[in-house]
Symmetry: C2
Subunit: 489 residues, 2 copies
């Protein structure tokens, strides 16, 4: 948790950002913290994770809290329940809700059920109620019932400040509030960058554990456990379900039942959350036998230099779409050198040929969420009036296309994959025309995939790789350190 | 996953159990598998956990499946979606839904959306729709919308076979289905016991890791990470959020920020799920310095012998309530010996004095859930016509009171705690009358708590402790092994 002043300042900024709405018509902004999420049954819950925007403005990291910010009067109130003797027996003594509110600079506090009453009262007065789209089904149910709208509308985002508010026919989440929150959370404060650096250090440790565990004969699941253990010992846990697979061509592979096999590649995309819930996200790809084959090294080096190119290009004023396209070009040039594609590079970039090999975007924003604010809508977070989403495979999956500003935190994660079903589809449908050398690609049907990812902070004049130390990444660094580590065990 | 025959047999048994309802009036039983549970946003989900009853009858361990069993015709169908090229890129190629259905002996399969259509069609025909109370908010939303009933009713259980079915005013979850499912899942099959033994072995390993990590200066969180890493390497993960605390007097303490401190006790209540989702659940309490003080040993030995007493008494025909009361008596006798309580033991047991020191029940059922079937309602699982719930502190929290049968799996987890707020409350309110020696208890305000837990299988003529080896438990075993382990590091 940060100092009280951080939360006070953030809420003041939010009030200012919403003050473009005429006074007296602003209404209230409501914030529903998360409840516990049942795993098997209510009472056997997943590890509690607070809503990120709630954490950002209100800091309280506990279930069943809510808050209201009156956009007209500036009044604010925290809602939550004090503990009784049963709670003390099962969960221990707790500070009062009033003292938790005081800790974040809020002088008003009330019971959790009073939140519902306050929202209903505002509805009765015809005030506009601004809320953010709910990801959790608990909050979907709560908001739908409280606002008298269908569950689908709780996730829909539209302008609501026209005066009709939440309770008219167009009752949805508030685009005005979404945009204000996104504009703030996108640019990280120094105290946030410190936390992301910590999360990256935990990421470094978990990936180091993974690399040491990458030995023929080991079960993938065994390595995943060792990695995740580190994230729980040092932080909150993983920032997303660990991707660890010798089938790296599957972008989000969560099955871990295979045995590490000499000659294959092991792709590991994994990150940690700090105890304050800031994320890291790194990918490395290792040769299972400790040494790359020439064929693997050829592809690996293209990806590794693409990762370095993106880092070199990242600076304020450049759009992340431009960097994605520069990386796409770089990858196509590399693949041309291996005769897997052929023809004019500009034409190939324009035709989206890179999407066959990298069907995802170069990166995404990162902060309190690993894909930062994805619950608020990727098009609000990674796009704006300046940048519109493409329909092309690969470029169309780019989560972050915006013009970079100091304080942005983005991932840099190019990859090259040989996905048999996708290659087959393109070949059958004639996509990619004559650019793709399908017969040469036949030699790659069991290659897998390679991705390399670092986390970048955009600075005043360039970018910094987050974390205090970088995971080994060049093919020679990887082979050297794996040789050394295999000796010592 | 078990052999096809297991699932076929279970569904056949369920049909038989529901056949007490007159033919033609039975209706359909619907089973909603779980969807992914969003952690931050949809797409960044918690580790997927299937609904336990869905696993039990339908075996498929993937999100967004559903099933219908026609209780009149015996027809059955699995609903789920086959993958498209986008899914293959992100999640890899998958077997078809038809082949997944075939794997569990179901010949009919259809798309996930067809489940909704089939339920709506049954509603239109006025058939009774039996469903189980939903724990997950996703299924609550789904069932409420599909059945046209309020969200609250989705968790309410009442008889529905009177003919009014799901769509009348009393539309709720089906008591008939709940009772049939509980009667089956309560008595474990051999293949289930094998899996519970595996989960217990993982529990053994995680607790061993914890005991080795229990050294002055270590952060509690560090030990938790090491334990949970083991559960992910060897199984699905933890069967519930790990309780590890030097404030053992708080029954479910999930905060792990303290440093291991000489002289204190460390209570660890934790378990694992096997890859097939069967649970284990063990508790041990260690002296942080490796050696108990005399005062700690006095209390420890009472709890340890209480745990042994419950094991000795557990056999078919005895109720778990009787064993709980025998343990309560044993604890009171032990505390009398230390002059913390005084008076006639029978009177103290009847007055519920044990509840001050053990405000929880002796144990609970365990299987696919650590508190087995708690989502179906503790009163259906742990109680029946034979046993009604008490209102007393401690005994009233007993989750399992039933008459034991071979195949029952229950935990044996007595404890003694000194909870300052509870002692203060009883003293102020005069609860416990003259039985409690409040002035002697003042010496225990910073003692903490001790709990010791094993998992028992009720056999033909007694009980077996589950797992292949038992965690060290007597005070001398603990001190010896901790001394040995501290030497070796």
């Amino acid at each position: 948790m940060f100092d009280k002043e951080v939360y006070v300042r953030r809420r003041r900024t939010l009030l200012e950002k919403m003050s473009f709405i005429p006074e007296g018509k602003r209404g209230i902004a409501i914030f529903t913290g998360n409840a516990e999420a049942p795993q098997n049954y209510r009472g056997n819950d997943y590890r509690f994770r607070q809503d990120s925007t709630f954490l950002y403005f209100w800091g309280i990291d506990e279930p069943c809290f809510a808050a209201i910010l009156d956009l007209d009067s500036g009044d604010e109130c925290i809602y939550g329940d004090d503990v009784d003797i049963d709670d003390i027996i099962w969960m221990g003594p707790q500070p009062s809700v009033a003292s938790k509110a005081e800790r974040i600079g809020v002088s008003c506090s009330a019971q959790y059920a009073d939140f519902d009453k306050a929202v209903l009262a505002a509805r009765a007065q015809g005030r506009t109620i601004h809320f953010l789209p709910a990801s959790r089904y608990y909050n979907t149910l709560k908001l739908a019932s409280l606002l008298g709208i269908p569950a689908e509308s709780v996730r829909k985002v539209l302008p609501v400040a026209g005066g009709h508010g939440c309770c008219g026919k167009a009752a949805t989440a508030s685009e005005e509030l979404v945009k204000a929150v996104v504009s703030m959370r996108l640019v990280k404060e120094d105290c946030e960058i410190e936390e992301i650096d910590k999360a990256c250090e935990i990421g470094y440790l978990m990936h180091t554990e993974a690399r040491k565990g990458c030995r023929p004969g080991t079960k993938e699941q065994d390595i995943v456990g060792r990695m995740e253990g580190v994230t729980i010992s040092k932080g909150w846990g993983v920032s997303f379900t660990t991707i660890l697979s010798q089938n790296g061509e599957t972008l989000h592979n969560h099955s871990h039942h295979q045995i590490i096999t000499p000659g294959r590649l092991l792709l590991i995309d994994a990150g940690a959350e700090s105890n304050t819930h800031y994320a890291s996200d790194f990918t490395r790809t290792y040769p299972c036998s400790g040494k790359f084959t020439q064929k693997q090294k050829d592809i690996y080096d293209i990806v590794e230099s693409a990762n370095g190119l993106a880092f070199k290009l990242a600076r304020p004023g450049v759009t992340y779409r431009q960097i994605h396209l520069a990386v796409a070009r770089h990858i196509l040039e590399g693949l041309s050198g291996l005769r897997l594609v052929r023809g004019d590079t500009d034409e190939m970039v324009a035709a989206g040929v890179a999407g066959l090999f990298m069907p995802h975007g170069l990166g995404h924003n990162m902060g309190l969420d690993v894909h930062d604010m994805e619950d608020l809508g990727e098009d609000y977070v990674g796009y704006d009036e300046d940048q519109k989403r493409s329909g092309q495979l690969g470029l169309g999956s780019l989560r972050m296309a915006r013009r970079l500003q100091p304080g942005h935190v983005v991932t840099d994660e190019p990859g090259i994959y040989f996905i048999p079903a996708l290659i087959q589809k393109w070949k059958m449908e004639g996509t990619g025309g004559d650019f793709v050398n399908y017969s040469a690609l036949e030699q790659y049907h069991d290659f897998g995939g390679i991705r390399l990812e670092d986390d970048l902070l955009i600075t005043a004049d360039g970018a910094r790789r987050l974390g205090t130390r970088r995971l080994p990444v060049t093919s020679s660094e990887i082979e050297e350190i794996m040789a050394r580590e295999q000796e010592t065990l």
